[in-house]
Amino acid sequence: MSDARILYPQFRDEQEDSRYPFADSATLVSAERKLDIGRDTFFDASIYAVGASKGVYISSITVAATEITIQLGDSSTKKLAAATFNPLNIPDNGVLDLIDIYGRPAGTLLSTAFLLARFSAWPLETHTFTATTTAFVASVVIPAQAPGLRGVQCAAGDLLTGDVWLIGDRGIVLRKEGDDTIRVDIVGEPLFARHVCEPVGKFTPKTFLQTITANGISCGPDAYGNFVLTATGHAADDTVLRVYTQDGNLKIDTVGRKVV
């Protein structure tokens, strides 16, 4: 029997025999059924969930027929970030992406497809862990506190990050005021209602009657939008021409009767 030993094992091989990336005190045993994650299941981790506080740990492992979710928590929440994989289609490289509740990258858990398959044998339920049984060592938790604005979330639930555009529409106008102020005005848009009611996809501008031209002279409406057509002078009694309304129409007529 050879007593040779590897002086400098590869990184992953070295971690197989240690609890790393978990703390030395971590038992890795679930609360309900006392199931053991196994010290060799994970080789490495890199956890940088935004806003993570002290004591990041695996808070639960939920096993379903086609989905296994490893949930991470910390001292303030049990749902800090999670990694999900399909036990029937485990990633070949054994890398599990951690995603936080807003869909942001929160780190990685490093294992192998073979080792991750052991969770398939666990009962189909949620297995919980206490903070001490699955605590990660501090060196794999990269502080990512949340100063400043980390995201803008809309009522629909979408989290906006990076370069965020605030755009006014339908009569809401957004304007920069000074160096650091965004002013919000709600003033309506006169033509918007007509725009959305157009039966086709294009807004067809209307051409309004603004003036009436007679003998080269153009006249517009009065202050109330009314235009008056008259038969010469109203008081003239020597004309047969009459302009009057009749049944909602404008009638131009002549009056008189037979002499004989």
Binding site: G103, I142, D185, P190, G201, T254
Partner: protein, 309 residues
Amino acid sequence: MPRTGFLNDNEYRAYPFVHKTSYAGAALPLSAVVDAGIIMGIDSEFDHAAHSVWLSTIARVNNTFQFTFATDAPGADGLLLMFVCGANADEWTTITAESDPVNAVCDRPPVWEGFLVVGDLTALRAAVANNTTVTFPTKVRVLEPGRVQSLVKSYVHAINVGNYSRIMALPPEACQNEVPDTERTVIINAFCMQGDIRLKEGYNCRIKQTDRNNELSFTADVNSGDTDNTELCDHGGEIPLYPDEPFDATTGFYSGGPACNEVISTLNGVGGANVNIIAGTGIKITANAETHTVTIAPATNNLVGNCST
């Protein structure tokens, strides 16, 4: 019993690269790189499940070593990360590097950046002659996934402000027949606002801040917010979308078109979408739609007929 340190261990193993039983391409002395860490920036579009970082080349130029890393993250396409150190650098020398930003506007951060720790470079000096470059195949010397941190979607870099272009009463002449409903343009009002940004109530606007759940709610409320209506009334209830936006000189409207009192809405008090002008006895009315002309003339024949009867 004394134990060797972490960096010392790494001089004799593949770390920080993923260990494989064999590597395609050129050999890399294990002692050359003993640690590394990469931060993929907010513009990198990096996804741990699909992308990785690998050592692409080592060049020895003018008595320096240039370690160049590549990635297949879409946002870092064509952007390499080069760490430079002296060819005789001490063990455990730490080098930092950052890529260019994706563009130069709005004070953008590097697409990716990182650090590299070199070990004993004796073997590397023997393997790479001066003024030569060793190239490693794509995705062969891949960094351990745990050495890569992604900042994608992790923070708000800047706020930009704009408004959808207003609906014009009369579109520009060239666009009379092309006013698309679905492709409205955004008019930029402010670009790249950073730092502490305030939101201010303007006309008819009420902003409610709820600290308990970090919520801002915006409500339309008549006469809330700014009550100085001077700017609003100067332009018929419209306000500019950007400084110096042109308006109709006659009406003051930014959206153009006639004012209500410029439109003939009734004829002799008769209104409606259409007003019918009816010819009575002795009157003949003709209309020409092309010339927008209504001709009202006496119907002489009719008058003669009446008089002779």
